[in-house]
Symmetry: C2
Subunit: 202 residues, 2 copies
């Protein structure tokens, strides 16, 4: 890898860590560059602004998370089994991150939503697209389960929104109490929200 | 009101508005004092630090919200009716705030949880106490409804946590999409989470 792309990579990694740790507003470009070990001049070679960097961090994180969600939610298992796996992987991911840095960092998109959505329209727009895509993915699985007579929902989109909202709310509490055990009831709550009729996953 | 308490009031009001608008980290004491129209010396007469001010803002907001939650949740109506009223008043409050400032500001406690809980243990501790108290209040109503045979939950505390998580998640989306309509399905989702058997509130 050449020196140039290496510097960009270092800036993205440092920004991602710092944003997860302390949020976006408290950060300055100089601090990000110091953490990345690159001269400040490099920053503006790659990014027009701190906001542009935040969008790049969000895009990169979503690209990875979207791959994971797609793998789980479009897999070969039965639809409700896939949804359950999504929660289990979410809990495992938060636990692994906690073991790495000592604290539950929560959901990068949720964190930035509450910190930034009223401050920059570019970030707000990007986060809306991401949550819309998450709801789309969950909705597809719910609709599939509905066709199989496994859930009792009348509006799969609204149900999918409720499931993603429950996920974000419980991840918030996992972060607040620094306790990934808070994510344990996610599947049971999801079943209640969907009115599952299927019993083998109880 | 004397000049002294007046200055403290102005600092608290300015800080509350600025925190709701832009979060805590991005703010400086000088900016808060400028917005409040008080000299910077006054700040340190009333508050030992910016963190102490944040705690005072949180405490004041919770004192008011706790009064409102207590009024609604310990009222004379049937338990599920009271819970429904809580969501309706939350939606009305967010709508009134949006009409005032143009944007849905969301939940001050949720915002600070995601922005700050991994940064200051004092704020984390205070927010934990507040959300514990919210869950306590919802749990009491759920337990009451359970005794009346109106809900199907086996664990009222876990159910109350799910309800508060759903509330926080949907308020997050109301903020992200700047749309209080996102709070409309709260009651239906709460009914699903509780497995309500009672039909008059459908």
């Amino acid at each position: 890898m050449g020196r140039t792309s290496d510097a960009k990579r270092k800036i993205l990694d440092a920004a991602r860590s710092l944003i997860e740790e302390r949020g976006y507003s408290a950060l300055g470009v100089a601090e990000i560059c110091a953490a990345a070990g690159v001269p400040k001049g490099s920053f503006y070679y790659f990014f027009a602004s701190k906001e542009a960097l935040a969008l790049a961090v969000v895009d990169e994180h979503w690209a990875a998370q979207k791959r994971a969600w797609t793998r789980v939610l479009t897999g070969e298992a039965e639809p409700l089994r896939r949804l359950r796996q999504l929660f289990e992987e979410t809990e495992a991911g938060q636990r692994a991150a906690q073991e790495g840095c000592g604290t539950v960092s929560g959901c990068l998109f949720g964190n930035l939503t509450l910190e930034l959505s009223n401050q920059t329209e570019a970030v707000r727009g990007r986060l809306q697209e991401i949550f819309d895509a998450q709801v789309d993915m969950v909705e597809s699985v719910v609709a599939e389960a509905r066709e199989r007579g496994e859930v009792a929902v009348t509006d799969p989109r609204e149900a999918a929104r409720a499931v993603v909202a429950q996920l974000e709310g419980q991840v918030m509490f996992a972060k607040l109490y620094n306790n990934t055990g808070r994510l344990g009831p996610l599947w049971q709550n999801c079943r209640a929200l969907l009115g599952t009729t299927e019993t083998t996953l109880a």
